[in-house]
Amino acid sequence: MGEPAVPPRASTAADTSAPSASRSAFSRLPGFFTLLRTEFTLAVRRRSDIVNPLLFFVTVLAMMPLGIGPEPEMLARMAPGLIWVMALLATLLSQESLFRNDYEDGSLEQLALQPQPLYFPVLAKVLVHWLVTGLPLALLSPLLGMMLNLGAAGYWPLLVSLLLGTASLSLIGGVGAALTVALQRPGLLLALIIMPLYVPVLIFGTGTVQAALDGYSYGPQLAILGAILAVAAALAPLASAGAIRISLEN
C-alpha cells in the first residue's frame, strides 16, 4: 500500500516504537494475521456457521427440480442461474452474523477504539467469512452442476466465477452487515438493502458460465469479475468500517 514514510498517526505507540520506516509501514500486518487466525479458529469452532449455508445451498438446489420439473434440457438451461442465485442467497443469509457476536460482546467497540484503521479487522473478518462459506460453495458447485445436468464445459467457469464472485459478495455484503448490526432483527432488511448491490456480480457470474456453454471465450467476464473484486476489496471494507462506527453510535 502507498503508505507514507512518516505515518499521519505518528503519535501512536506502535509507530514510535518501530525502529525503521520500513517496519512501521508493515507494523499493522502482524496484527492482521493474528486477527485472521483468531477469526478463523472461531469460525471453525462454530461448525453450524460453516455447515448451514452449505446445507441451505444444497437443499434449495435439490428443491428446484422438484419445483420446475426434472426434464434434463430445462435443468441444463437453468443450472448456471440457479446455482448462482442460490450461492448468492447462501452468502447473504450467512452474512447477518458477520459482526453480530463481536457487536454483542463488545469486542467490535474495542476494535473501533484502536488507533489503527478498522479496514484490516473488517478485511480479516470478511476473508474468513469467504473462506468458510464462499470457498466451500464454489468447490461444491461442479457437483451440483452435474446433478442439474450442466454441460461439462461449464464446470471450470462455474467454479472459477464462483470463487471470484463469492469473494465480492462477501465484501459487499459486509457493508450491509455493518449497517444493520445494531438492529434487532436485520435479516430481511439486510437482504433488501444488499440484493440490488449484488446484481453486477450475478450478471457477470452467470454470464461467464453461459458464455462457456455457448462455446465463446469467457475470459472477459472473468476479468470483469476480477475487476469488481479488486474494487470491492479496496472500497467495501472502508464503507463497512464507516458503517460500523455509525452502528456503534446507535
Binding site: 449497517l179 444493520t180 432488511l189 433488501l192 446484481v199 458503517a243 455509525i246
Partner: protein, 251 residues
C-alpha cells in the same frame, strides 16, 4: 468570500423561513410549465408515423425517468454532504428525496410498461434500461427501509446516507452490466421504437415537460423537506411559536 450562506444553509430553521418565500413561485412556475407541456404534447404535437398516438406517453415517461435518476444523485449527494460536514439539513433533504425518487421511478416503470404494450407487444421486457430502473427502485426502497429502521434518528440518517453513497458507485456498474448482459444474449430487436432523432415539433413540448418536472421535483422536495423539518424540530422554540396557535396540545 464569506461562507456565511453555507453555515446558514445548515440550519433547518433558516431554510424553513427562506423557502417559504420561494415556494409559491416554484410551484406556480412548475404547474405552468407542466400544463403548457401536457397540452402541447398531448394535444398539438404531431402524431408519430409508426406509433400513432401511443408515443405521447413519452411526455410523462421520459421526464419521470430523468428525474428518477437525477433524484438518486440528489439524495446521495445530500447524504454525502451530511456525512462530511455534519449538516442537519442535508440529511433531511436526503430523507425527503428518497420517497419522491421511488415514486418517480415507479412512474417511469409503469408508463414504460403501458407504452410497451402497444409498441413492443408486451408489458415487460428484461431489457437493460428497464432492469436497471427496477434495480434503482429497489435501491430507493432499501435506503428508505434502512433510514426507518434505527431507533436513533441520527444513526438512521448516517446509515442510509452511507448506503445511498455505496449505491452511487453501483448505479453505473449496474447499468453497464445489464446493458452487456442484454446485448450478449439477445439481439436488440426491440429497439426499433427508440427514435435516435426526434422532430422539433415533438422535442419542444418534451423539453418543456422535462423543465416542468425538474421544477415540480424541486417544489415537492422543498415541501417534503419543510414537513420533515417541522416533524424533527417540533421540540424547538421556533416551531412551537410557529405552530403554537394551531396545535398547543403537543409537548
Amino acid at each position: 468570500m464569506s461562507w456565511q450562506w453555507f453555515h446558514r444553509l445548515g440550519s433547518p430553521r433558516w431554510f424553513y423561513q427562506k423557502s417559504g418565500a420561494w415556494l409559491p413561485w416554484l410551484g406556480a412556475t412548475a404547474l405552468l410549465l407542466l400544463s403548457v407541456g401536457i397540452v402541447w404534447g398531448l394535444g398539438f404535437a404531431p402524431e408519430d408515423a409508426k406509433q400513432g398516438n401511443s408515443y405521447r406517453i413519452i411526455y410523462i415517461h421520459v421526464p419521470a425517468a430523468f428525474l428518477a435518476l437525477a433524484g438518486y444523485y440528489i439524495m446521495a449527494i445530500s447524504g454525502a454532504i451530511g456525512l462530511i460536514w455534519k449538516m442537519k439539513l442535508s440529511f433531511v433533504v436526503m430523507r425527503a428525496a428518497a420517497p419522491i425518487g421511488a415514486v418517480l421511478t415507479f412512474i417511469a416503470l409503469f408508463t414504460g410498461a403501458v407504452w410497451g404494450k402497444p409498441t413492443w407487444g408486451t408489458y415487460w421486457v428484461w431489457d437493460a434500461r428497464i432492469t436497471s430502473m427496477l434495480i434503482l427502485f429497489f435501491l430507493y426502497l432499501g435506503v428508505m427501509a434502512l433510514s426507518g429502521a434505527f431507533s436513533r434518528e441520527q444513526s438512521g440518517d448516517k446509515a442510509s446516507a452511507l448506503l445511498a453513497l455505496v449505491g452511487t458507485v453501483n448505479i453505473p456498474i449496474i447499468y453497464k452490466s445489464v446493458d452487456w448482459w442484454f446485448t450478449l444474449h439477445q439481439p436488440a430487436t426491440l429497439k426499433l421504437t427508440e427514435a435516435s432523432t426526434i422532430d422539433p415539433s415533438m422535442f419542444y413540448p418534451l423539453i418543456t415537460m422535462i423543465a416542468g418536472f425538474y421544477l415540480f421535483y424541486a417544489w415537492v422536495l422543498t415541501l417534503h423537506t419543510r414537513t420533515l423539518i417541522l416533524q424533527r424540530e417540533w421540540r424547538t422554540q421556533w416551531v412551537r411559536e410557529l405552530l403554537g396557535a394551531s396545535s398547543p396540545a403537543r409537548g
